[in-house]
Symmetry: C2
Subunit: 181 residues, 2 copies
């Protein structure tokens, strides 16, 4: 009763079920009816709470987008070198925590620029790439993109590896790519 419970409960359940379906079948293979059935409501209810399928996607990605924004904002205040180290650690953490939504993002990359709801997420992703690169060199930026893509791809295969294994893999992968010695 603190705040209107019905609204938030339904919205949260829709987002929760949508996230699971997106992970299992991929965004394109999931219909609004699928989401509604899984959430135990009607398709019209989903559209009542969200302005279209893309808005559901944005809501699914919102927590990850918010955390990414925090990371990027914090990195903004650091020197190049410190920001890179910070970004490597934080990005690993984000990847583990939101491993379920990473492949959702990857699937929609071909059309990501046509989804205004997640424009900020895309922009923050580019800023993160810049911090991971450590400089504005084309090679460094390319390697940072390489790292982001590789990490997103490895977050797939749910259950095949534990969080700890994934954390170790991401950490080693990022450091080898971005901080070779």
């Amino acid at each position: 009763m603190t705040t209107t419970p019905a609204r938030e409960r339904t919205r949260h359940e829709i987002v929760r079920q949508a996230m699971g379906l997106f992970q299992d079948r991929g965004f394109n293979a999931v219909s609004l009816q699928d989401i509604a059935s899984a959430a135990g409501c009607s398709k019209a209810t989903v559209l009542y709470h969200f302005n279209g399928k893309m808005a559901v996607l944005a809501a699914v990605l919102e927590p990850a987008a918010a955390d990414l924004a925090k990371v990027v904002e914090a990195a903004e205040k650091l020197s190049n070198d410190a920001a890179q180290e910070f970004a490597i650690g934080k990005f690993t953490e984000l990847a583990i925590h939101y491993r379920g939504v990473m492949d959702v993002v990857q699937e929609i990359i071909p059309v990501i620029h046509e989804i205004p709801e997640i424009g900020q997420l895309v922009a923050d992703g580019l800023r993160l790439q810049r911090f991971l690169a450590g400089s504005d060199g084309r090679l460094e930026l390319g390697l940072a993109g390489f790292a982001i893509g590789g990490l997103m791809g490895e977050c797939r295969h749910p259950g095949e590896q534990t969080d700890e294994e994934l954390r170790q893999l991401c950490d080693i992968g990022l450091r080898r790519l971005l901080r070779p010695n």
Copy 2:
């Protein structure tokens, strides 16, 4: 007259246009009608030559799949270490040569196991991952997957980087990830 020209010409044009459309808009956003219009024929003609949209996809990926099969087959006869070195070089070449279709593959990964037409391509991809890893360790296999995903992601953005830049990027990325020193 050498072989029936009309058949091969039409099939080739369909595949060629489909590849371009898949790159530009993503596989899911391209309809059979789009492919037919671009190829200058009717949708029925596309389906006359190919048993469904997935068969068109398989035809688009076929040259890359064939070359990948050759690479994997050749690597099979080498020692672990030589096979890894061989796979790194050849995979880089394949990525450059088929950079246009790499992101097509990446987009369909969530549903790739439901497409029997490209089962061999998937299997060869896993064998390539094994060779890139250099051993059967979980970490090594994970890093090889990391590398494949990262490389596929970097082949996107057509025109943003030249073939030579991409080649350099892939080579450095793969070596840093898989052969750290």
